[in-house]
Amino acid sequence: MTDEDKVWPTGLNLKEAEEVHSYLIDGTRVFGGIALLAHILVAVSTPWLG
């Protein structure tokens, strides 16, 4: 059994952990993009940040 196939205490192997992580990274990027756009709009249209 290689290290990649080892089942860790969480019940995942390395490949499954990387899949979970990729979804989390994708979600964070989408959230960040929407938040960045929203903050730009607020900075333009209100006195926020002076």
Partner: protein, 112 residues
């Protein structure tokens, strides 16, 4: 993807809600801080010119509890002497006299 190894020791059922919850609490706290330190948000949301809320609030009579305490006592001669307790705790005396009393006690302008 090196950080993906966290899911080998932290169950996603625990770590993902924890991560999302931390993001939610953090962003909520920042927005509360912005709202509680600025005064233009309600104007913006209600479509009023920014700053008009502050102007309206400044025009209202001061109902601050710190300036409410004040007492007065009527003097026997009909004038009013008021003791005014200032917001910093110091006292001041103010005498309110009726017009005729002021006229009677006024120094004549023409020397006799």
């Amino acid at each position: 993807m090196n950080n993906a190894k966290i899911w080998l020791v932290v169950p996603p059922a625990v770590g993902v809600p924890l991560f999302l919850g931390a993001v939610a609490v953090g962003s909520f706290a920042v927005h509360v801080a912005v709202l509680s330190n600025t005064s233009w948000v309600s104007d913006f949301l209600s479509g009023a010119p920014l700053g008009s809320g502050d102007m309206a609030a400044a025009a209202l009579p001061d109902t601050d509890a710190a300036v409410k305490p004040a007492s007065y006592a009527m003097m026997p001669d009909g004038s009013f002497e008021m003791t005014i307790i200032l917001p910093d705790g110091t006292h001041a005396q103010a005498v309110v006299q009726p017009p005729e009393l002021r006229t009677a006690s006024a120094t004549p302008l023409v020397a006799q």
